[in-house]
């Protein structure tokens, strides 16, 4: 609507009333026209008009006949022949017949108002009565001419009256005709007006219809524009929300990286000779760091869910194996608190089901961890059974339990049993929300049954269809039950890592874990190595020169026999889902975000008694003032003292080459090359505590990735060059070179 209507409903009602009124008027106009036309047709209908016209004609004929009779009678009296007498007598009869015609009912009506008519008629009638008494026939005329003459003389008295009557009737009918004409004319005029009215109304209807069409059209366009702007708004909102979530995910990732470094260093520190007090402090620091990492992982999960939903990727999962894994992962916690741990599968369950193993493990691990966390004594159990709705995973504990109110808000964000429990037990409160979201994403749900003081039962109900075992896994080699902490056996590990510092770091860690490792600098070399000898596991950096991790993996998967099935684990500083998916698509078995902390890596390697898993990369921290002394301290305490300076020496040895590559890339403003170099420098320098280099490298990597202009890139790259120069000074100052 161009002008703001008082109210759309009122307007519609008005329009309806208007249409109704116009329609009624139109119907009335049609009715009036119909009536008018029937009137006119009636007016023209023959009988009345004929009778009017005929009356005039009859009166005129009456006069003519009167004259003819007089003439014929006087001729007969003169000629005195029988024939003339016969003629005269016939004339008289005709005269009488004419009299009957003007006496009719109609004539009486027409001439009622005229007194002369009646007088003349009476006069004529009396005359005929008298003549009939004679009677006037041929015989009378020939034999009694006297009486015939008497007839003639009496007739003469009638002449004027008959003449007047004829004229009167003629005038009267003329007046009637003109009145009728007048009526016809006025009716025609009325008809004309009515027709005009009909035209106007029809035009009015047309205008209204046109306006309605336009209005509809405009409405449609407005609707479309509105939909479009809503779409845009939604896209903007979604983009904003995504951006925020991506930011959060990135931040979590960035936070996680130093956390892993911290954890790695702490676990290395644990094995050094320490005083009991230091041991305790170390344990406390370790616990805090682990808790912090859990929180970060939860936040990362939630932000990923919000950024793009949860992608559930079902694949065949062996239930027995899953239970075994869970037992291995939770047993240390349970045994530390002296709890019984009982995980069992009901009889008759399918061996393999279709499920997302990572997500299913995550849910069950979360529930089991909670159960252990909230139980001081007794037993924690997991029972898997078949129900009509699907598989039920019941996690029960003998812990503190919950009342109904607590259960009601249990799955809400940031809620825990109560304020005190959050202080007592730690946790983000995101775990159950994540678990329930995951369960729902898989088409199931989580329910809880609990009473305060009598433990809780969490039931995960998931519609997991049974499926066939995947090809090549027919023999699921029963795992030897063993301590999850001790290495199962020495694994032969091939590491593809282009940065020398990362290589050295991994070497140190893998050596400590009791595995033998072979290092190479890129995917191509790794491929050659794998062809030359057998390995239990390949740790593959995704971004290496010559041949990257994806290409190398594809090539390895095409190798014949067991070599083609060697377990390959991706190593990448990118924690994005796309990188992980790309890696898995390329044929890799797992994906580890760099760097990995020592216990996680150790646990994973231990679980892979058959094929094994990855090794960690260096942890880069980012505090102030150019050089992070803590990192150096950690390295010194975790690694054999003789091994630390070579790390720095190799980094500094590589600096001129890095500077040259950076300069070359700057000269041609090759953003890709700048980014690659910055990425490599970032990881290595952070591992060594060269935080100024790490910060400058990070800045350059981000600018190069976000497509900053050449001038900015130059500037940031210059910063990095300067930081590299100063790094030598930092190292020299600490006697590391």
């Amino acid at each position: 609507m161009s002008r703001p209507p008082p109210n759309a409903a009122t307007k519609r009602r008005r329009l309806r009333l208007l249409l109704l009124a116009m329609g009624s008027v139109l119907v009335m106009a049609f009715a009036a026209v119909g009536l008018l036309q029937s009137r006119q047709s009636e007016l023209l209908s023959s009988t009345k008009r004929y009778q009017d016209d005929y009356l005039v004609w009859s009166l005129f004929q009456f006069e003519v006949e009167y004259l003819k009779l007089r003439l014929s009678l006087s001729q007969a009296l003169e000629l005195k022949t029988a024939e003339a007498a016969e003629q005269a007598a016939q004339r008289y009869e005709i005269f009488v017949s004419r009299l009957a015609l003007i006496e009719g009912e109609h004539a009486g009506k027409v001439l009622r108002a005229n007194p002369e008519y009646r007088a003349t008629l009476d006069h004529a009638r009396r005359f005929v009565q008298w003549v009939d008494t004679l009677p006037l026939d041929a015989a009378l005329i020939t034999q009694r001419p006297g009486e015939a003459r008497e007839v003639l003389s009496r007739m003469a008295g009638l002449a004027d009256a008959i003449r007047d009557l004829s004229l009167t009737a003629s005038h009267h009918v003329a007046a009637q005709v003109s009145a009728r004409n007048e009526l016809v004319r006025s009716q025609s005029q009325l008809g004309l007006w009515l027709t005009l009215l009909q035209c106007a109304l029809t035009l009015g209807f047309a205008v209204i219809v046109l306006r309605q069409f336009r209005s509809l059209d405009r409405h449609g366009r407005e609707q479309e524009a509105l939909a479009e702007s809503l779409r845009e708004a939604r896209q903007e909102a979604e983009a904003g929300s995504r951006a925020k979530s991506v930011f959060l995910a990135n931040m979590s990732h960035e936070l996680r990286t130093p956390m892993h470094g911290l954890l790695g260093m702490l676990s290395l520190l644990k094995d050094t000779p320490l005083q009991p007090q230091q041991q305790e402090q170390l344990q406390a620091a370790s616990d805090s760091a682990r808790h912090l990492l859990t929180i970060l992982n939860d936040i990362l999960d939630v932000s990923k869910m919000e950024a793009g939903g949860i992608s559930i990727q079902p694949e065949p999962v062996r239930l027995a194996r899953l239970i075994q894994e869970l037992e291995e992962l939770t047993w240390p916690q349970a045994s530390a608190k002296g709890l019984d741990l009982g995980l069992r599968l009901d009889e008759g369950l399918p061996g393999w089901v279709s499920a997302d193993p990572t997500r299913l493990r995550q849910i069950l691990l979360n529930l089991l961890s909670n159960a252990i966390k909230f139980s001081e004594r007794g037993r924690v159990g997991l029972r898997v059974s078949q129900r009509p709705q699907g598989l039920a995973f019941e996690v029960s504990d003998t812990g503190v339990g919950m009342d109904a109110a607590t259960q009601a808000k249990l799955f809400q964000r940031f809620s825990q049993g109560d304020q005190t429990s959050s202080r007592r037990f730690g946790g983000t409160g995101l775990g159950l929300e994540i678990s329930r979201n995951l369960a729902r994403a898989m088409g199931g749900d989580i329910e809880v049954r609990s009473e305060p003081g009598r433990g809780s039962v969490f039931t995960v109900l998931l519609p997991l269809p049974p499926c066939a075992a995947p090809a090549g896994t027919a023999t699921p080699a029963p795992r030897p039950a063993e301590s999850p902490v001790r290495p199962a056996r020495t694994l032969r590990i091939l590491v593809s890592e282009d940065h020398v510092t990362n290589r050295q770091f991994l070497e140190a860690v893998l050596e400590r874990l009791g595995h033998s490792a072979v290092f190479c600098e890129n995917g191509f070399e790794a491929l050659q190595q794998l062809k030359a000898q057998d390995f239990d596991l390949v740790l593959m950096d995704l971004h290496t020169p010559m041949m990257d991790g994806y290409q190398a993996t594809r090539a390895m998967r095409e190798l014949p026999g067991a070599k083609g099935r060697t377990r390959i684990v991706a190593l990448s500083a990118d924690a994005f889902e796309e990188s992980r998916e790309r890696a898995l698509q390329a044929g890799m078995d797992d994906f580890l975000a760099k760097p990995v902390d020592l216990p996680t890596l150790a646990a994973m390697l231990n679980q892979q008694a058959r094929p094994l898993e990855p090794a960690p990369a260096p942890p880069p921290p980012l505090p102030a003032s150019g050089f992070d002394e803590d990192v150096l301290q950690q390295l010194r305490s975790h690694l054999p003292p003789a091994k630390v300076p070579p790390l720095y020496q190799s980094f500094i040895r590589d600096v001129p080459a890095s500077r040259q590559r950076l300069s070359q890339a700057m000269a041609v403003t090759d953003a890709g090359a700048l980014r690659a170099e910055a990425h490599a420098l970032k990881g290595a320098s952070a591992s060594l505590g060269l935080i100024e280099v790490a910060a400058a490298a990070l800045a350059l990597e981000q600018h190069a990735r976000s497509g900053a202009d050449a001038r900015t890139l130059q500037q940031v790259a210059q910063d990095l060059l300067a930081a590299l120069l100063r790094s030598e000074h930092h190292c020299a100052a600490r006697g590391l070179l």
Partner: protein, 175 residues
């Protein structure tokens, strides 16, 4: 409305009637029997069966000998419905062997009107000689009256057809 109404007929007429019908069916060479009484109708012009001086003359008995029909209807000339009886005009014309496009009807009062021949073929036009079963005197539009069957076809109720209803009829001229 026109109903065949065979009136009582003198026995002496039956032979003549037979002859008439035969003549109507056969070639026009047969002459019409001359009238025995006062002539009431004279047909002249294009006729093939004259009975005197090139004319076909009829007395009332000859007309009464033809098949009779009756119509009861309202007319402009009388206040209420009236019954008219007489032969069909086309049968009278057939008896005279009339072969023309139009008929000029002439009345005793010197009235004249032209009637198209199709009228007689399309409509049961009556040559009425009785009104309400009584002979019509000259002073009451007699002795013969051409009557159209107005109730058969509403289109007949117009001035044109009213004017073709000639009364005091004395002659027909076939053209």
């Amino acid at each position: 409305m026109a109903t065949a109404d065979h009136l009582r007929m003198p026995a002496s007429l039956s032979r003549r009637r037979w002859l008439l019908s035969s003549a109507a069916l056969a070639a026009p060479a047969w002459a019409l029997e001359p009238p025995a009484e006062t002539v009431v109708l004279s047909i002249s012009g294009k006729i093939s069966r004259p009975n005197r001086e090139g004319r076909a003359l009829f007395d009332m008995a000859m007309l009464a000998a033809l098949p009779q029909h009756s119509i009861t209807q309202r007319t402009p000339w009388y206040p209420g419905p009236r019954k008219f009886t007489g032969p069909l005009l086309r049968e009278v014309l057939a008896a005279a062997g009339a072969q023309g496009q139009s008929i000029e009807a002439i009345a005793i009062n010197d009235y004249r009107v032209t009637i198209p021949m199709q009228d007689c073929q399309q409509h049961a036009v009556l040559l009425a000689r009785l009104m309400d079963d009584k002979p019509m005197p000259l002073r009451d539009k007699g002795p013969l009256f051409i009557i159209y069957p107005f109730d058969d076809d509403v289109r007949l109720r117009s001035s044109v057809y009213y004017s073709r209803c000639a009364w005091q009829l004395k002659a027909l001229d076939i053209r």
